[in-house]
Amino acid sequence: MKVTLKVWRQKDAQSKGAFETYPMDNVNEDSSFLEMLDMLNESLTVQGKMPVEFDSDCREGICGQCGMVINGRANGHLEGTTTCQLHMRSFKDGETIYIEPFRASAFPVIRDLKVDRESLDRIIIAGGFISSHTGSAPEANSIPIGHATAESAFDSAACIGCGSCVATCKNSSASLFTAAKITHLAKLPQGQVEARKRALNMVKQMDIEGFGACTNTEACEVECPQNISVMNIARMNWEFHKAIL
């Protein structure tokens, strides 16, 4: 198939960026979206031109390192999908595809489609953990946890930290990301001891990083590759309010 790419090229955070046009021929429709970009990069490289910088690693939808805005939507038009899991068969022959980096002030562009998401790591550093050190753990079966509780904690824990929620939110809020971690740990007995402190510290860090506030548009849930529910945000608000009382 044939497609025309309009790719955002930007040298670094300080430079101004612009779209460049790349016509692509002979794209295999079974190839993934990123394999199509690999193909573009190989042809640019052979010509001695700088390839399009973008992040990806596992290419299985689990590491969260990929992520770009495709035709105006984070990770493209399919629901519950990372960029690396998008395949060319879901595009039309002859289509023009716009590709941009995730845009948020807390995600500065490094180059082209690569952005810096360390702000998400810093939210975890602020409290996204249970303070148990190596050696201190009790026997694993000493605290039974109901099947449903464990499964629902898992649903929250499944977040891959890709930042699609931020990229898609009109406020660039990291609420879904932060809430998923707060909720995962608050649901488990092991995490409840520090729940209060955790909610306060993580929410505070989210603000320090310059992420916006949540105004309940719920776009994040729609774009989340892991289908993390906005109910997590409700739980975060509850945990936060319990904590400040």
Partner: protein, 637 residues
Amino acid sequence: MLDAKIPEGKLQDKWNNYKAKCNIVNPANKKKLDIIVVGAGLAGSSAAATFGELGYNVKVFFFQDSARRAHSVAAQGGVNAAKNYQYDGDNVYRMFYDTIKGGDFRSREANTYRLAECSASLIDQAVAQGVPFGREYGGYLSNRSFGGVQVKRTFYARGQTGQQLLLGAYSAMMRQVNTGKVKLYNRHEMLDVVIIDGKARGIIARNLATGEIERHAAHTVVLATGGYGKIYFLSTLAMGCNGSAAWRSHKKGAYMAGVSWVQIHPTCLPQSGDHQSKLTLMSESLRNDGRIWVPKQKGDDRHPNDIPPEERDYYLERRYPSFGNLAPRDIASRAAKERIDAGHGVGANKNAVYLDFRTAINEYGENVIRERYGNLFRMYEKITGINAYKEPMKISPAAHFTMGGLWVDYELMTSVPGLFALGECNFSDHGANRLGANSLLQACVDGYFIAPLTVGNYLSGEIKTGKISADHPEFEKTEKEARELLDKLVNIKGNKTSDHYHRTLGRILWDKVGLERSKESLEAAIKEIRELREDFWQNLMVPGTKEEINSELEKAGRVADYLELAELMAFDALNRDESCGAHFRSEYQTDEGEAMRNDDDFAYVSSWEFDPKGEEPILHKEVLEFETVTPTVRSYK
């Protein structure tokens, strides 16, 4: 002479004896000691977290943008532990025996036993961190079984066990970042290790976001850089996985062992064309409920649902009745290749076999199967467009895990004093074939439980050393060499990409140093690899400069190392005139096509020294002494 430093005593007492006698560093002195960890997967993060908790100063380097992304994240199926929660006869000895037998009696007894011995604590540790393992309705932990064993000892978090364990280790490490004991260097790649007076004293790293070259000094360097299976180009590994830290350490004196023992995983998505950049693994846990078959008739083009049961060949069940679809990976992969080569392969390229859930869906219902493997079925549909609840999956073997790696002694120290290797980047626990769900375990056990003590034992001798200075001439020299290598790569300005060379190398290795090797194929491989390497240094194209973000340069450095490592793989395989585990030499097989091991001549670990001047690497043999088990013919029939 290689000394594995195995502690005295009976097998079951060795680790306790070690712990009782190893030196430790008191809390006040720990503050004066610096540790560099390279790699932030399960082994690296768990080690860094624990070093931080103990009070050492830790710097962690990794190429990803966040430590949560290292490829441990992609391990799906589970992690083994001898908890015996099912009361099905499991215990530490049985787990040890399964592992050493699974490795075809080519690993060290003491290391393998310790892996099983520490397994139970790892589950406790992970649960305390909030890892949401699957549970029964009563609230207790649930288990499944995995290939090559007859008990249920695998703990799992749906099909995302690696992700959840990694997030546990990551969060423990982030807690230490919060306390200031651990400092992270993301988007950094180690270019070389710095050795001063025979000891590892730091690294040269490149900041991938800026191109800057940096020097970092420490009292010890701990590598946890994963496997090099990506050398085949098409593999289940992540795009950035590489063997460069291990290889460059090898060139600085660290021996590499069992280098050609690469696990080809039986359940991956088949190759569909030249556009592919990687292959996707489908968890082996699927083999618990999926049945593997091919049409009995060659070239049968009917839709799988139209082929009646009596015309299907469930070849694993036929050849290995007692393990059936749960035969170990090396055996399952080879059996698939045998059927495909015999003309029974399915799919457009006739390079796959069916993995069929119809029996399980009829027995338990679609919902149960969905709860067990829902995310895997979803992933399968995303990639192939096929609904596997309605028709069988098509799967095929692909390069996956490297049992080989840096040679380490019982303390996980390489042959360079002060340089440690944890997790997949060492060779130690899996012999010639790794059992499913043992790799997450090894990474965690090495990082949480072993390295904190053994590195401490080493550091107890460094208390009086004082700060290591990055101004030492050795740093200067190593940095200069690293810069020169980058310049060389950038300045060729030829007309072929790194990916071109990587793909070509992968094809050579897959055909000649893959599931099956022979003297003939290996000698041909060595010749072709040398030619390809020559071509690489003449015609490579890396655009841009080294002073900026440059992913083509990153790739070029990794491929340059692969082109050398590949040759060592071929030498390693050539040296071993026997078949064992993943190493199947076509000259050494029984009439039924099973591997023929030769314990009289090859019950050793091949450990290779880099010879900068010589044409060929230098072999050191670590003889494997079996005091407890008797190596038997490994039969899963």
